[in-house]
């Protein structure tokens, strides 16, 4: 059984079809990337899955359970966590205290809080920053904090929204490594990303959105060679 299934999902914003009849399934324990040109609907997809936006048509199931129309915090309680591109740390708290909030209030309640917090910080490679106030962190470190706090909630699915945006190559590599560690620990990862080399390197599967439609769904190699995908990004020779 897939961890997350999306069936015939559609979203209209007053006549603008942002998502058109998209269906896919995410296997547990995998890393899936959603890519596509700007405006393709990638962030909207995340917003629909987490219940931030109401959908127009279709169904979303998580661990077999229908989550269509559920409130955001209910969905969070079921085990879907999200790491945002614009990090929102608790600025006056330390890194440890930030991650601890996730462990205290996540799915399945507060058990082994300290251990869970440390584990999450280690997976996100920020254990060394534990005592520092969140306000003193760099952008890259804040992204790691986002991930750490999200997985401290013992979520089964992590949705990472452009985790590498604005990072230099070293920071990007570090973030990709974190996502790998997260997957190894048993958390399924779905990310929206633009950084192609990273996407190709780390993903088990790649979904390609263009103008709200799913135009490709397969392994990185298959997708990279798919003429529809190339056309979506680069255009065809005729359209000048």
């Amino acid at each position: 059984m897939s961890l997350l299934t999306v069936e015939h999902l559609s979203k209209n914003f007053r006549g603008l079809a942002a998502i058109r009849d998209v269906s896919f399934a995410i296997a547990a324990g995998s890393i899936t990337s959603i890519i596509g040109p700007n405006g393709a609907g990638k962030s909207t997809m995340f917003n629909l899955i987490t219940g931030y936006l109401p959908l127009t048509a279709g169904d979303i199931r998580f661990q077999g359970k229908r989550i269509t129309g559920m409130a955001t915090n209910r969905i969070a309680e079921l085990g879907i966590a999200r790491a945002f591109q614009i990090a929102r740390p608790f600025r006056d708290l330390t890194v440890f205290e930030n991650v601890r909030i996730g462990a205290l209030f996540g799915k399945a309640g507060p058990r082994d809080v300290v251990a869970t917090t440390h584990r999450a910080m280690e997976l996100a490679s920020i254990a060394a920053l534990a005592g520092q106030p969140a306000s003193s962190l760099t952008v890259g470190q804040l992204r790691h904090l986002e991930v750490a706090r999200a997985i401290a909630t013992r979520a089964d699915l992590l949705l990472a929204d452009e985790p590498c945006a604005g990072l230099n190559p070293t920071e990007t590599a570090a973030m990709i490594e974190v996502l790998r560690q997260v997957r190894t620990s048993g958390v399924t990862v779905v990310l929206v990303e633009h950084d192609m080399p990273s996407v190709m390197e780390v993903s088990d599967r790649v979904l390609v959105l263009d103008a709200g439609r799913l135009i490709a769904d397969g392994s990185p190699q298959e997708v990279a060679n798919d003429p529809k995908v190339i056309a979506a990004y680069l255009g065809t020779p005729d359209a000048a």
């Binding site: 955001t72 915090n73 999200r82 608790f90 006056d92 708290l93 909030i101 996730g102 209030f105």
Partner: protein
């Protein structure tokens, strides 16, 4: 200068012993100042549970001082035949209960407001309670309410109330401390930092806010009951005061918003400044509090704790 827990505990224990012995070696004027300091500290700590921890700064907490005080007075009046020693507990219970009910009722609508709107709405609550108390004869706000003397025979009432204030303030400090180190407290801090993100991480924000609001209100009311007894006679103006509303905020601002001991330090300092340094210049009190606030906001918005933190950071 980070102290380990045992050192902190010993320091606090020593402070408590010294404070408790106060009336035995301090002249009467200073015993009264001590009363005010402990009263202010308790109020500041109670306010801080909602304002400092959760970040919901109320500009109208005097409402609960008044509600507590008048409820206690009216209830005790009905049971005036009871021995003096039972009257205070009765008043405390009645005042606390009434504050709890009031807080629980207004929590639902008022906690949906954020920041400035919440602050002003609470100021409105304070003014409305004052108006109703003053204009409705049943509450006797304009006529005034009498409180029978309850100090045990042979003990100076000033000393008696000093010790009562001390016990109350310590109790509130204990509650505040326990909240801060609990899961509830961690949740409140996260609400203060970023309420929406806290919610998305699973913090039951609405429930926690309401609980903090009720606890804060009840503890404030308790202090109000003791205050009324120590005065012996109260009118609307004795308890529903805008400068009290402001002072509660200044205690935390001065000592460090959101910290455990911040309100205590701020309270002690502010009372010391207004009562001891400016003691003779009675007319100057309000002016001085206002001036201090202006200076604070402009130069040290993080309070004393903030200044200490800044010095630590520039030193490293």
């Amino acid at each position: 200068m980070k102290l380990n827990p045992t050192q902190v505990f010993l320091l606090v224990a020593a402070a408590i012993v010294i404070l408790a012995a106060g009336p035995f070696f301090l002249p009467p004027f200073y015993v009264r100042v001590g009363q005010l300091m402990l009263y202010a500290a308790g109020l500041g700590l109670a306010w801080g549970i909602l304002g400092g921890f959760a970040g919901y700064a109320s500009f109208g907490h005097a409402a609960f001082i008044g509600v507590g005080a008048f409820t206690a007075g009216l209830v005790e009046d009905k049971f005036s035949s009871l021995p003096a020693l039972l009257l205070l507990p009765l008043g405390l219970l009645a005042g606390a209960a009434c504050c709890a009910v009031l807080a629980a009722l207004i929590a639902y609508p008022i906690l949906r407001l954020r920041g400035t709107f919440f602050a002003i709405a609470m100021l409105g609550v304070s003014h409305v309670c004052a108006e109703l108390t003053n204009n409705i004869d049943f509450f006797q706000g304009s006529m005034g309410l009498n409180f029978p003397p309850i100090a045990p025979a042979g003990m100076d009432p000033a000393d008696f109330f000093y010790e009562i204030y001390l016990v109350a303030a310590l109790f509130i400090l204990l509650v505040s401390w326990q909240i801060r180190r609990s899961r509830f407290g961690a949740g409140l801090l996260s609400i203060r930092e970023d309420e929406d993100t806290a919610r998305m991480l699973g913090v039951p924000t609405e429930r926690y806010k309401r609980l903090a609001f009720v606890v804060s209100a009840v503890l404030t009311g308790v202090m109000g009951v003791i205050f009324a007894h120590s005065l012996g006679y109260i009118t609307t103006e004795s308890v529903y005061r805008d400068d009290t509303n402001l002072s509660l905020i200044v205690y935390s601002l001065l000592g460090g918003m959101g910290t455990l001991f911040g309100p205590v330090i701020g309270a002690f300092l502010l009372v010391f400044i207004t009562q001891v340094i400016l003691g003779r210049l009675l007319d100057f009190h309000l002016f001085a509090t206002g001036l201090l606030l202006v200076i604070l906001v402009l130069s040290a918005p993080g309070g004393i704790a903030g200044l200490l933190k800044k010095r630590k950071r520039t030193a490293t």
